[in-house]
């Protein structure tokens, strides 16, 4: 790639559109090990310049994208800092956090996924998963793994290391064991990670989990009282045990991801078991029947206040409505001043007087005017996962 850009070759002089056409293949773009920060086209750390060269697009577009994404939960800043720390400079071949190519690729992909999640919603309050701790842990892991790695030797200017002709000092399979006619400037292969020794445990764990779940299913069908949530719990327990084994023996790669999926399934199954869905509709006709607090574990809770005859008695009151998992619908009369504070703790949506918001940990507030001298009511609505809707009729 770099050689082609620097030396277009004799045919390029006859090309009527020298700056058109693809110069970087898709495979080269996906190969993040080739990514380098630019030492010549830089505003801050050369991230946008290097990325623009890697993707063969104008770095200005990327600079704008970084700035815009910064306003989406700081995703742009997160991406930029991660690339700054991880991606080597093209002149020295060094990065502030020196890592091997594979670790760097995994870290960059991980940061990319994190940035997507961050830009989708307010990450700090997303359920109870400690995302900030995860970020700190990733940085700590990179720093600690960096201490165990020898510093990479500087690369000759002119392009990434992997562009060195593709040949190495090692005998190739088709050369019959004969050494190649020349050697490249590739550094010697890094020593193997001592924590990646022994058998791969992933498929063994999958088989063990399937066996355990199948056995539990037989016990269940035989008539023993087996809760639905016991299935994901058993899977999670098996994966946890194999992760603990894998922490000192063998390679347990991939099990964390499967464990997280099993954890989500366990939480969902347990919640479904413990909180049976119930649809509740409340239509008080006098203010004295309007409770201060309405709660529902799971299901739909409808609170219709349009039938209240003595609305003036509601003046100055505060209603708390907690819908748990599910939907909350509150219908208020048109001749009532209403101020609503609504929050969905997890994923869900809020629709207040026609104005809708979706996402994770959504919050919104709205006010409905009931006209002059109308009684005023405050409503605080919350659901863990689901929807809140307030309508004025």
């Amino acid at each position: 790639m770099t050689e082609n850009q620097n030396d277009p070759g004799p045919q390029a002089t006859e090309d009527p559109h020298p700056h058109e056409g693809p110069r970087v293949s898709g495979a080269e773009m996906r190969d993040l090990t080739r990514l380098r920060r630019s030492s010549t086209d830089k505003r801050v750390a050369g991230v946008a310049g290097g990325l623009g060269r890697h993707l063969d697009i104008d770095p200005v577009i990327l600079r704008v994208a970084f700035v815009v994404l910064t306003f989406f939960g700081g995703a742009g800043l997160l991406l930029y800092i991660a690339a700054w720390l991880l991606v080597p400079d093209d002149s020295t071949g060094r990065a502030p956090l020196q890592t091997d190519a594979r670790t760097r690729t995994i870290a960059l992909v991980g940061v990319g996924i994190l940035a997507v999640l961050v830009s989708l919603g307010d990450w700090g309050g997303w359920i109870w998963f400690p995302w900030p701790l995860v970020l700190v842990a990733v940085i700590a892991w990179l720093v600690l793994s960096n201490r165990n790695n020898p510093p990479a030797p500087p690369v000759t200017p002119g392009g990434p290391v992997s562009d060195g002709g593709g040949t190495t000092a090692y005998p190739s399979a088709d050369s019959g064991g004969q050494p190649p006619t020349h050697t490249a400037v590739l550094p010697p292969a890094p020593p193997r990670n001592p924590r990646k020794r022994g058998p791969i445990l992933f498929w063994f764990t999958m088989a063990l989990t399937a066996l355990a779940l199948g056995t539990l299913g037989i016990v269940d069908l035989a008539g023993a009282p087996v809760a639905d949530s016991a299935y994901p719990a058993l899977a999670l327990g098996t994966i946890a045990a194999m992760l603990l084994v894998g922490s000192v023996y063998g390679r347990a790669g991939g099990l964390i991801l499967v464990g997280l999926a099993a954890l989500v399934a366990l939480v969902g199954a347990t919640a479904a078991e413990r909180w049976d869905t119930a649809d509740v509709t409340e239509r008080p006709t006098v203010a004295a029947d309007v409770d201060q607090e309405y709660r529902n574990g799971a299901g739909e809770l409808v609170l219709d206040l349009t039938g209240v005859r003595d609305l003036e008695e509601l003046d100055g009151r505060t209603l708390e409505v907690d819908g748990g998992l599910g939907r909350v619908e509150i219908i208020v009369p048109g001749d009532l001043d209403v101020h609503v504070d609504a929050e969905v703790g997890g994923p869900g949506s809020i629709r207040l007087f026609g104005d809708q918001r979706d996402g994770f940990n959504v919050r919104d507030e709205a006010r409905a005017d009931g006209g002059p001298d109308a009684p005023s009511l405050q409503i605080d609505a919350f659901v863990g996962v689901g929807e809140i809707e307030v309508i004025q009729r």
Binding site: R195, G198, A241, L243, L244, G246
Partner: protein
């Protein structure tokens, strides 16, 4: 070439503690323990609010302790490292 025995094969799979796997394994095991307590009725639903962070705290603390212990072992002079030939 000598045929590797079961013991040597098992030994060859041992490695320094992988902190990531240790921490997540402990966290998952703790969640299963909480589920078991909840299902058995030993704890009430209200207790979940403060029990939810416990697996992360527990696993994180043990993970940090493992990192510190591994660091101490690395800095303590002990028997010389095996040569590359011995690894083979």
């Amino acid at each position: 070439m000598n045929e590797p025995t079961t013991t040597t094969r098992l030994e060859s799979g041992r490695h320094p503690v992988n902190i990531g796997h240790l921490v997540m394994g402990l966290a998952f095991a703790s969640f299963v323990a909480i589920w078991a307590l909840l299902t058995a009725g030993a704890i009430q639903d209200e207790s979940l609010r403060w029990l939810m962070p416990v697996p992360w705290v527990l696993a994180g603390a043990i993970g940090l302790a493992a990192v510190a212990l591994a660091g101490r072992r690395r800095t303590t002079p002990e028997e010389p490292h095996p040569t590359p030939e011995e690894y083979r």
